[in-house]
């Protein structure tokens, strides 16, 4: 049963995410609309996007609190995700040993940053005004994922070895539920279901910002309209 769920969820996520990216990639950009000053070379544009991705440059100019909270959350999430590879790789490469502690710190940081973002949304008048139920929903969902993860780290440890065996065999055979012998095992199931929920809504929500950034014409265009004729694919000449 869980096998089917996992397969269905992964299919929805991957197909959904890729098809959205496909829609973005396929839709034409008729005119040059880079927000200037903009790089005048391809390499410059790659650098602009990379710094936006890694440091949220524009957000830094705009709002220091959102920037700090956002960067902390995304950075911590990236580390946490990376650490999760240990549950999918066998045998576990040696460098995951020292990473363990960093991963746990990142987990705490992620939950704290999410809490901060939530607080920010509730406290600041303008941000509160623009927030929909869905905006809170995603934050709560991520917070629940982070908290259930931390709960397993600190309080209710599930039988990780059994779970990993169970999950790893999933790629080749149909397995049942992972073992449910302790409260920790139940928390794990909950954690898994929440992640499944996140993956399902991903392609249909603002979470698409994760791929969309790279298709934003104001950021990804080279500023060279005079030097090189930019062709509008749908123009009738």
């Amino acid at each position: 049963m869980l096998t089917f769920l996992v397969y269905i969820v992964l299919t929805i996520f991957l197909l959904g995410f890729l098809s959205r990216l496909f829609v973005y990639a396929r839709s034409p950009a008729p005119l040059k609309i880079a927000t200037t000053p903009a790089p005048v070379t391809r390499l410059g544009v790659a650098w602009r996007l990379l710094t936006e991705l890694l440091f949220f440059n524009s957000l830094f100019k705009a709002d220091k609190l959102a920037w700090a909270g956002g960067l902390a959350f995304h950075g911590a999430m990236a580390v946490v995700l990376f650490r999760h590879l240990r549950y999918f790789i066998d045998p576990i490469p040696a460098f995951f040993g020292p990473l363990q502690i960093i991963g746990i710190v990142a987990g705490i940081a992620m939950a704290a940053a999410l809490g901060f973002l939530l607080l920010r949304r509730l406290v600041f008048e303008r941000v509160r005004y623009i927030s929909s139920q869905a905006d809170y929903g995603v934050l709560f969902l991520l917070l629940a994922i982070a908290m259930s993860g931390l709960l397993m780290d600190f309080v209710l440890r599930p039988n990780i070895v059994a779970i990993k065996t169970n999950l790893m065999s999933m790629w080749s055979t149909v397995t049942g539920l992972p073992p449910l012998n302790s409260a920790g095992d139940v928390v794990f199931l909950l954690h898994l279901l929440l992640v499944a929920g996140l993956l399902v809504i991903f392609p249909f929500s603002k979470l698409m910002h994760a791929g969309g950034l790279f298709f934003s014409p104001t950021r990804n265009q080279v500023d060279n309209p005079r030097e090189k004729k930019h062709v509008n694919p749908w123009a009738e000449s």
Binding site: L31, S132, A134
Partner: protein, 499 residues
């Protein structure tokens, strides 16, 4: 004069608390069949406007990546909420960029996303109904397409793109804005926004030649429709008739004269402005811009130079090549098109101009970066040249220059409050309030540095400021073009040009 609300100007730009609907009453005058018909737009609101509007939105989503991506990916971080001059000046929640965009986004969700179809309440999806259309008509005409929000958004979401799309959708269902549509009609009829016919234009140019002769003793020409000139000068038509614009026009003429480069103005393409951009119409932009390129060919010029106009320079710099290019019939040694500031700056560097800075000694000057120039174009080969070249020019022609608060210049510049097709009397209340951030920064340098002249390079900015600054108790003589200062300082006949 009507009773306008002039917001208080404090020492610094402050983000006000939010209010609902302070500007809900201020919709622009609708266009009538007389204006809409020649444009190919329905003369009145079509019967099945909802269906047609949604259909048009669907069409635009397939034509504009910007629209498709920007409607999808806003994370509601709120970083843009205090970046719009119209929000700062009006406190109206719908003038926060994200909320303005939300007016379209909520419709987009309702009809184009599974979440909005299934759970409209959860994700804030709304029907495209009468109330929504009213809000669209009101608030998409309270955006000057200045792109300040796009500078600060972590994804570069450009609300101007959404405003343009909204206006295009509204035009497609027969709900147009009189001001913009009427002006475009004039361009097609007479070649310029002001509707100046050729004889009047000729008369003005001759008058200006006499004026320059009287004041300087030099025979500076302002030729019209002269085939075989080196340069076709395309200026905003306000330069021919309005103060202080006309001072810059004389400045351009003096620069050409002094450099010994022949130029001509065209009566058929006597307009650099292109309101096709304001209404989001690719076809209109192309049609309007085509007049210029056609004239450049017909008059057999080698170069195209664009006068002081913000959005015109955006269309020329960023779009002409795409719309009607390639411009490969022009002299490849020069950028095509070239901004008048680039042109003059280049001559300056080559030593073709003799300038007497002291002629501008009565002025203590600051510079307003016009947003379209600042955030949508470039001058010279390097990013940011659009900031440095005009400043270098100003510094070369006057002794006292100071920048305004760095949070309000260069890429962070504040719009004058009248751009994007809003320079119309019925929107005066909005225009006054939208100018407040710029006025705040200006007043500061007026006090701290005794600034008494704000130079700029946009016809709309000039018109807007001369009208609105007096309401803030600042004399209208405070504003003028960069080439007005050049005009004052240039020494005619001193050491005549290099080419």
């Amino acid at each position: 004069m009507a009773d306008y609300h002039v917001p208080p100007v404090e020492d610094d730009i402050k983000t006000p608390s939010l209010k609902i609907g302070t500007m809900a009453h201020l919709a622009p005058y609708p266009a009538t069949a007389k204006h809409m018909d020649p444009m190919g737009f329905p003369g009145e609101r079509v019967e099945n406007w909802q269906e047609k509007g949604i259909e048009k939105l669907g069409e635009l989503l397939k034509k504009y990546r910007s629209l498709q991506v920007y409607l999808d990916i806003c994370v509601k971080c709120g970083a843009c909420t205090d970046k719009c001059h119209y929000y700062l000046g009006t406190q109206d929640a719908n003038n926060m960029p994200v909320q303005r965009a939300e007016l379209m986004r909520s419709v987009y969700r309702r009809y184009f996303t599974p979440a909005g179809k299934l759970f409209p309440k959860l994700v804030n999806a709304t029907d495209f109904d009468e109330e929504t259309l009213n809000k669209w008509f009101t608030y998409f005409h309270q955006c000057s397409q200045c792109r300040r929000c796009s500078v600060f958004c972590p994804f570069g979401i450009d609300t101007a793109e959404i405003t343009m799309a909204a206006r295009e959708i509204m035009n497609a269902i027969g709900v147009g804005h009189k001001y913009s549509v009427e002006i475009i009609g004039k361009v097609h009829q007479l070649g310029n926004n002001l509707g100046i016919p050729k004889p009047a234009l000729k008369g003005t140019l001759e008058f200006l030649e006499e004026e320059i002769l009287d004041s300087t003793g030099h025979d500076v020409r302002l030729p019209l429709d002269q085939e075989g000139a080196d340069v076709l000068l395309v200026a905003p038509s306000a330069d021919f008739f309005s103060e202080p614009h006309i001072q810059s026009l004389m400045g351009y003429a003096k620069v050409f004269h002094q450099a010994g480069i022949s130029f001509t103005i065209s009566s058929y393409a006597s307009e650099a402005a292109n309101f096709g951009m304001f209404i989001g119409s690719y076809d209109q932009q192309k049609k309007i811009a085509k007049r210029v390129v056609d004239q450049a060919r017909a008059l057999k010029v080698k170069r195209l130079v664009v006068g002081e106009c913000g959005h015109a320079w955006r269309v020329a710099y960023a779009f002409w090549n795409t719309l009607n290019g390639p411009l490969d019939f022009l002299d490849p040694r020069y950028p095509a098109p070239q901004h008048i500031c680039e042109f003059t700056h280049d001559l300056l560097k080559r030593g073709a101009l003799t300038l007497d800075k002291e002629a501008n000694d009565p002025y203590r000057v600051t510079f307003h970066d016009s947003c379209n120039v600042a955030r949508a174009t470039r001058m010279g080969p390097n990013p940011g040249g659009q900031f440095e070249i005009p400043r270098e020019l100003i510094r070369a022609v006057c002794n006292h220059y100071v920048d305004m608060d760095e949070e309000t210049v260069r890429e962070k510049t504040f719009c004058c409050g009248g751009g994007g097709g809003l320079l119309t009397d019925e929107l005066m209340d909005l225009r006054i309030r939208g100018a407040q951030p710029r006025v705040t920064a200006l007043k500061r340098v007026m006090e701290s540095d005794k600034v008494n002249f704000m130079a700029l390079i946009c016809a709309i900015c000039k018109a807007q400021f001369t009208k609105v600054l007096p309401m803030y108790g600042i004399p209208m003589e405070m504003v003028g073009g960069v080439h007005q200062l050049v005009s004052n300082a240039i020494q005619l006949g001193a050491n005549k040009g290099v080419v």
